[in-house]
């Protein structure tokens, strides 16, 4: 069914786009008549034929590559065209056709590599001239690989860059971390720059993340700037790294079409699901815990009849499988590009439909792009990149940070997927009459509203309209001097509508309830103007100078609306007009940034390279005392292989460059107006009437200043054996000063937290990237990309007192992480588990205890040595959330038309804390518990495995079990087979004629993980947790995010 609609849509879109293009830009249809040129390509020295050589009509992207026997055949529009032959390790050769239809070509091998242009921010550079630490993915090099999203092109490719799908929220994008733990104060998202436009932070949310939001087929290249020496040019926003995305431009020449479509199935891997007790196990657990309690306390509580005879039950309800599904997703992209001497254009459209693996969630997106560039005169060019998109979906479940319910209770926040774990397996989803069981509860347990009912009956809709536009005008005053002015706009408007009908209960509150709902709107407009002068001149004697100066300003205005409606009359009208009580309001905020920046690139005979940049940023986010910051950088490079005396090694050493750089970048992700002391409304009542009141709600800090990171980087790039082996190596050390932290302060000040510049953190690291072409045979190609990174993080100082900083909050209100001088930021913090008390421990007064301890309770270390066990006072460092090293291995194999791509990423030595244990380890008999609780202590004769305490005894002891301790911290090393893709390109003999290229593929994303981390994905995160302000003080916490699915995809790509 869908396939039929799919095809219709495809035809419709291609026709529509074609018509639009014809009306707008009157393409010459004369290209339709073609001629065929064929020939063979040989190695100039050996005379053997060369397979896989790119053959392209000059000035277009129209081309082909040579077959196994070195032959090629290409349709050209005119026999006056020129063909360009290029192949890795060989000098590119342009051959005018001059009316011939058969051409044989000899290619000479070359020692020089790295002539590709690399986008480096505010311009581009030849790869060979780059002095900073920059990783680049040219999408055309991965075009032949059937990748589904841009993040897959990036994942596992660049050392020190972690690109992970950390949860499965429909429409959600990857989480990107670049090089270590730089900015612990503000979020850890890199800065995204699309076609030169630095996007606001609000665009890097999980769904609007450009790596997700821009279809991979629209992207020409992605550059990742690592470390301040490369990112200093982005000044105050650079210290988390910068991801530069360049979209495709149209190419002169024949109109080209590209279409790709895939359909996929998402499912949650079994190994990531916690095995919870089934009905029989749980009834047994409840029965035994009441028996144990009665025995220990000498009381005689009755066993509810539901638990008296556990053997009557079977498996009961498996809430996980009731709430999840195998979810389909489909995507279709179409693009058309072409141009003539004056105008080039690229158009594309894409449709994504995705169901969530959790019922009741989905995401749909339609997006378009038009990139049109025009040369109005030899000196003047203009361009517009315009990309609107619209998305809509249901996102009732997000796996939000924190604790709560799948569905909202009164005033609660919805979306916590982990609720399924604690539900009673004794309760069926449906009653005998087929209707939903309204409440899920068993004697003694929390009574929850039935989540299957709730997810199916509530309304939780969100739609977003998003517009990204770049315009530029470029004018060449002189041959070497050009001026470019850009104006960029990013606009987004999203609406969220929520409605809970009366059929959904609350906790302990069976339906019918009073219907409630809400309406929210978030709107932002961000614009940036940039004006750049570039001077580029090669002087005599090998001196080459490139100067760039830029003035830019950027502003964002945000408007939010949020209204809650309560006491709807009934379920029929779900908009707020039917609510009898409406609360809420509208909010507005704004920020501005003014920047002056300049860069000098100097090179002497392509051997000695120098890049110096300076940027001065003024941000409205800082207090009047510290509004401006200056961010300089200097980088030096030496291309040793360009020295004459290196000639003798050129047979095997093609390229050797060493780089040294130093730079300072900053961080201003602190929110608007943070420096101001904020007054909130807090009203009182006099004489029965409202008396409007104001209270100081936050502490002002007019001297709030930039967080600054200074980094030194020493790097090396080398290429061996005709580029068959490439090695990139970087050592770096960075120090971040004046961290912007949201700190706890003594509450006797009248405030709990304040934002302060405090402390200094050091990151030291090493990154290695090795690219090898293992086999380059006629029919068989095998290349490997290996990268390895290690980072060591250390806190150097923390404020005047140097006192440790606690972070995170456990369910009991205790800290989960601690930052101490000399140690990494945010180490895990909690009880150190020693075992369970036995009777002799209880009798022994030398064994530290808490009041009311009995045998079978948890025994933890008495850290402060006072003989008593007290929360927090007896907490200690219990784990390190950072890996010893991370790595990625990508293997690409091609045999004739078949290709196999295998991406593996890994991490070793990190630990993670399961925050979900605050409910999974609740053994009060109010929740379902994991199967492993069968191994708990019950009596001296039946002591269990020594890791699961008794359910009897004091509440304090049971709370201790669900509080933070070494029991919650696990080794999170992993080896993740992230992506396995098999593709097949149809032979030219079949596609010849109307198609240039047809490729079929199938892939498995998130194929499987090898890890000691139990019952979960060791990489999963709720995204916003890591990004949230100050979240870096509590890293490595595993909440119950929306699960990351395994996705099996089948697709096709067609070029014509």
């Amino acid at each position: 069914m869908w396939e039929i609609r799919h095809r219709n849509k495809k035809q419709w879109i291609s026709m529509a786009i074609f018509i639009v293009m014809q009306t707008l830009f009157c393409y010459s249809i004369g290209y339709a008549q073609t001629q065929t040129v064929s020939g063979t390509v040989y190695d100039a020295s050996s005379g053997s034929t060369l397979p896989g050589v790119n053959v392209v009509v000059k000035g277009t992207t129209h081309g082909t590559s040579t077959e196994a026997n070195g032959t090629f055949s290409l349709d050209v529009s005119s026999l006056r065209d020129t063909l360009v032959f290029s192949f890795i390790g060989y000098k590119t050769k342009a051959v005018p056709i001059k009316g011939r239809t058969s051409i044989d070509v000899k290619l000479a091998s070359q020692a020089i590599q790295g002539n590709e242009m690399v986008v480096v921010g505010y311009g581009s550079q030849k790869q060979q001239d780059v002095t900073g630490s920059v990783g680049t993915i040219q999408m055309k090099s991965v075009d032949s690989q059937p990748i589904v999203g841009a993040n897959e092109a990036l994942s596992g490719q660049i050392a020190g860059v972690q690109v992970n799908t950390t949860n499965g929220i429909p429409g959600g994008g990857p989480e990107v971390h670049i090089r270590g733990v730089g900015d612990i104060g503000a979020g850890s998202n890199p800065l995204y720059v699309v076609d030169g436009y630095p996007l606001p932070e609000s665009s890097s949310s999980q769904v609007s993340n450009p790596l997700n939001n821009i279809p991979a087929s629209d992207i020409a290249s992605i550059s990742v700037l690592k470390g301040p020496s490369a990112t200093a040019i982005y000044g105050s926003r650079g210290s988390n790294g910068v991801v530069l995305i360049t979209t495709k431009e149209g190419k002169k020449g024949k109109l080209k079409f590209h279409a790709d479509a895939y359909t996929g199935w998402q499912s949650i891997p079994d190994q990531e699901v916690t095995p919870m007790m089934n009905a029989r196990q749980f009834a047994t657990f409840m029965k035994q815990s009441i028996e144990d309690h009665n025995r220990v306390s000498g009381s005689n509580n009755a066993i509810p009849k539901e638990y008296q005879n556990p053997s009557q039950y079977g498996k009961g309800t498996d809430w996980f499988s009731e709430l999840t599904r195998v979810a389909p997703q489909q995507n279709f992209n179409f693009s058309a590009s072409g141009g003539n001497d004056n105008i080039t254009s690229y158009f594309s459209g894409s449709v994504l439909r995705q169901k969530g693996v959790v019922i009741g969630s989905d995401y749909n997106r339609v997006s378009f792009r038009a990139n049109v560039h025009a040369n109005l005169s030899p000196k003047l060019s203009l361009g517009v990149n315009f990309s609107p998109n619209y998305s809509f979906g249901h996102n009732g479940v997000t796996g939000a940070v924190g604790r709560g319910l799948l569905t909202a209770d009164n005033g609660g926040n919805p979306g916590y997927f982990g609720e399924w774990e604690v539900l009673s397996p004794l309760v069926p989803v449906h009653q005998s009459d087929g209707s939903y069981t309204p409440m899920v509860g068993s004697p003694g347990l929390f009574a929850f509203p039935n989540p299957v009912l709730a997810l199916n009956q509530m309304t939780h809709k969100k739609n977003t309209t998003h517009l990204l536009g770049n315009t530029f005008v470029e004018y060449d005053f002189l041959k070497d001097l050009s001026f470019r002015s850009t104006f960029n706009v990013n606009w987004e408007n999203s609406n969220e509508k929520i409605f809970y009908p009366s059929t959904i209960g609350g906790v302990f509150n069976p339906p019918p309830t009073i219907p409630s709902g809400s309406y929210g709107q978030d709107k932002f407009l961000n614009w940036a103007n940039e004006n750049r002068l570039t001077y580029d001149h090669d002087f005599k004697g090998g001196h080459s100078v490139k100067l760039m100066a830029d003035v830019s300003e950027q502003r964002q205005v945000t408007d939010n609306v949020n209204f809650n409606g309560d006491q709807f009359a009934d379920n029929s009208i779900k908009t707020l007009n039917a609510a009898s009580v409406i609360t809420g309001g509208t909010y507005a905020s704004s920020w501005t940034l003014v920047s002056y920046l300049g860069r000098l690139n100097y090179s002497y005979k392509d051997k000695y390279l120098l890049t110096a940049t300076v940027r001065r940023d003024g941000s409205s986010r800082f207090g009047p005392n510290n509004r401006w910051g200056t961010f300089p950088s200097l980088a030096l490079g030496w291309r040793i292989t360009n020295e004459p005396w290196m000639e003798k090694y050129s047979s095997w050493l093609n390229n050797l460059k060493i780089r040294a750089s130093y730079g300072i970048s900053g961080n201003n992700q602190i929110g608007n107006f943070t420096y101001e002391s904020q007054l909130n409304s807090s009203n009182y009542v006099f004489g029965g009437s409202l008396a409007s009141g104001k209270v100081v709600n936050s502490l002002s800090n007019p001297s709030l200043a930039w967080e600054r990171t200074a980094e030194a980087d020493l790097g090396l790039n080398a290429g061996f054996i005709n580029g068959r082996i490439k090695v990139d190596l970087d050592f770096y050390r960075s120090r971040t000063k004046d961290l912007l932290l949201n700190l706890n302060i003594p509450e006797s000040s009248g405030f709990s937290t304040t934002i302060k510049n405090i402390g200094e953190v050091q990151n030291k690291g090493f990154e290695l990237g090795v690219h090898t072409k293992n086999v380059v045979k006629h029919n068989f190609m095998w290349s490997t990309n290996f990268n390895f990174a290690m980072n060591r993080n250390k806190t150097l100082s923390l404020g005047p007192s140097g006192a440790p900083i606690q972070g995170g909050t456990s369910g009991e209100g205790h800290p989960t992480n601690i930052t101490k001088i000399g140690k990494p930021v945010g180490m895990f913090y909690g009880y150190k588990f020693l075992g369970l008390y036995n009777q002799s421990d209880i009798n022994n007064s030398n064994v530290a205890k808490f009041p009311g301890a009995i045998p079978g309770n948890m025994k933890v270390a008495d850290i402060n040595g006072d003989g008593k066990i007290t929360p927090v006072s007896d907490f200690t460092t219990i784990g390190n959330p950072y890996p010893d090293f991370t790595y990625g291995i990508t293997n690409t194999l091609r045999y004739k038309g078949l290709s196999l791509n295998l991406v593996i990423t890994g991490s070793y030595g990190a630990e993670r804390m399961k925050a979900t244990y605050e409910s999974l380890h609740n053994i009060d008999g109010v929740f379902n518990v994991p199967v492993e609780m069968e191994n708990r202590y019950r009596s001296p004769q039946n002591p269990g495995d020594g890791r699961h305490p008794t359910t009897a005894g004091s509440a304090f002891a049971r709370v201790m079990y669900r509080d933070v301790s070494t029991l919650n911290v696990f080794n999170a090393s992993y080896l993740w087979f992230k992506n396995i893709t098999l593709g097949y390109t149809l032979p030219k003999s079949i596609t010849n004629g109307s198609f240039q290229n047809i490729q079929l593929y199938t892939s498995i994303q998130n194929a499987f993980i090898i890890t000691p981390y139990p019952n979960g994905n060791p990489v999963s995160s709720t995204y916003s947790n890591a990004q949230s302000y100050g979240g870096a003080l509590s890293p490595g916490i595993d909440w119950n995010p929306y699960p990351t699915p395994r996705v099996i995809t089948v697709g096709i790509k067609v070029d014509y």
């Binding site: 004006n531 909010y587 006192a803 109010v926």
Partner: protein
């Protein structure tokens, strides 16, 4: 054709030049461009400039009291756990044990004397009080720069000082050794330098604030200002402060307390309401007996009270609360059996203070662990029916004239003037439908009688714990109470109700002791 192009080109050059010029002009406005003004909130740097702003700040200072004295489960009613620290900790109330809701364990620890320094709820009260003090300090710091008539100035200062004194009085009684801040904190750097004061210094500050307030405040306010602090409230506060500073046996401070209460009584402003139960009728707010009363209103946003949702028995919803949420009710602040038994026969205050919930559906859904659940007592004083879900219109008395009379009697007895004290106690007893005390009691007999009278008169009004401490009886009374509770609360850990002298002060919140090296934990903790 070629000529045309060139011409076009020249004008183009001009246009580009002009465009660049325009961009240049736009960018010269940079310094203004960086000055963004917050639209959605007020900033303290631009506030506190005129009378209406200072008035708003004062209203804000009052609003902190709504939080401190409030109680709420759900909704947005302002609330803290102050009632748990002052009433539920005493022998007056306990809570209904709900196995299915262990999320409030740390609040139950307050009742059981199992509090540890990490207790979230005591920390919350600490935070609420200091937040209120910060508001008061800010007003007092900034008021001198505001153009005000001296009458306005005095009235605002007087109210602010009273509120600050009340906050410190609660603080010093709960924690003893606390930081004493009389200037607002305005920068993060000051927070590291906060020092701990001796209780005597805190009391000195309270007395000086309350005295100044008494001198500056009017005896009464117009109807539209009903609820503001009066002279009488300041004197009552001073009287209670002096009573608290003395233990029975000393007389200096009792004499001072007598002088303060006398001013209240002789002012003629106050009289007892004829009907005790009418005191909590929302129709009778700010009545003749009300000396200082926290104002709530169900018709205002987030200034309503919500006591019954916290205090009603578990899941007693429809029956106790009215027409909202059948499962509402949290079973907190439930009168103990000891409290139920302490009322004399015929004391009308018992039925006015306590109501009974009879569960129609015993033992079926859900199961209660409290054996008396099928007919459970709960606090009636704050049970006025809500107008909407969570919105009650009940005020909370900090000071009532009946208390002034009883405290006056207690103080007179302490300084040996027992014979003069009877009439004041008897006024209160008479209103409760009881006979007067028989004259001829010894000092200690009278003491016992007046303590009992205070307990029942102001039951559930957050005075009991302070009375037990003030009168030096807390350790004995609470150990006895613990023994009694354990006889019917079988889940109680043997470690509970281990009442020792050091536990009469709460432990300072670990949040603050860890962050502020100047803060020494109270002894014993």
């Amino acid at each position: 054709m070629k000529i045309l192009m060139t011409k076009k080109f020249d004008t183009m050059k001009m246009k580009i030049f002009l465009s660049s010029l325009i961009i240049g002009i736009v960018l010269t406005g940079c310094s203004d461009f960086l000055n963004q003004n917050p639209e959605s909130f007020t900033s303290s740097s631009t506030f506190y400039k005129n009378k209406s702003q200072i008035d708003e700040a004062l209203n804000g200072a009052y609003s902190g009291l709504q939080t401190l004295y409030g109680a709420s489960l759900g909704g947005n009613a302002p609330s803290s756990a102050f009632w748990a620290m002052t009433e539920e900790r005493s022998d007056n109330t306990t809570f209904e044990y709900n196995n299915a809701n262990r999320g409030f364990l740390q609040r139950e620890d307050i009742d059981y004397f199992l509090v540890t320094p990490d207790n979230n709820f005591t920390q919350g009260v600490w935070q609420d009080i200091y937040s209120g003090i910060e508001q008061c300090n800010t007003i007092l710091d900034r008021i001198d720069n505001v153009d005000l008539s001296s009458a306005d100035h005095d009235q605002i200062v007087g109210q602010t000082e009273f509120i600050r004194a009340l906050y410190y009085f609660n603080l010093v009684r709960l924690w003893g050794n606390v930081p004493l801040l009389t200037k607002a904190i305005t920068s993060p750097d000051q927070t590291d330098k906060i020092e701990q004061a001796k209780p005597s210094a805190v009391y000195q500050q309270i007395i000086s604030d309350a005295k100044d307030a008494a001198s500056k405040l009017p005896a009464t306010w117009s109807a539209s200002n009903a609820g503001r602090v009066t002279k009488g409230a300041a004197h009552t506060l001073l009287g209670e402060v002096y009573m608290t500073m003395d233990q029975p046996g000393n007389t200096d401070n009792y004499n001072k307390a007598i002088a303060e209460f006398k001013k209240v009584i002789q002012s003629g402003t106050y009289s007892l309401m004829s009907n005790y139960s009418a005191l909590w009728d929302p129709q009778n707010k700010n009545n003749s007996e009300s000396v200082f009363e926290i104002q709530y209103s169900s018709s205002t946003q987030a200034s309503y009270s919500s006591y019954i949702y916290e205090f009603a028995p578990l899941f007693s919803g429809y029956t106790t609360i009215g027409s909202f949420s059948p499962s509402s009710g949290d079973g907190r602040n439930i009168p103990t059996r000891n409290m139920l038994g302490t009322y004399e026969n015929g004391d009308q205050r018992k039925d006015a203070s306590i109501a009974w919930f009879v569960d129609p559906d015993v033992n079926t859904n859900p199961p209660y662990y409290e054996v008396q659940h099928d007919s459970l007592a709960y606090v009636q004083k704050y049970a006025a029916k809500p107008s909407e879900q969570f919105k009650q219109n009940v005020d909370f008395y900090v000071y009532r004239y009946a208390q002034v009379l009883l405290w006056y009697a207690e103080a007179l007895n302490e300084v040996g003037k027992t014979s003069q004290a009877y009439s004041y106690v008897n006024k209160v007893r008479k209103r409760a439908g009881l006979n007067g005390l028989t004259t001829g009691m010894s000092q200690s007999q009278f003491r016992t009688a007046v303590y009992h009278e205070e307990r029942v008169e102001s039951a559930f009004e957050d005075h009991r714990w302070f009375q037990l401490i003030r009168t030096g009886r807390a350790v004995n009374v609470m150990n006895a109470n613990g023994t009694e509770q354990k006889t019917y609360q079988t889940w109680l850990s043997p470690a509970s109700y281990d009442v020792q002298k050091y536990k009469l002060l709460y432990p300072l919140p670990i949040h603050d002791t860890q962050l502020n090296a100047n803060l020494k934990q109270n002894p014993g903790w």
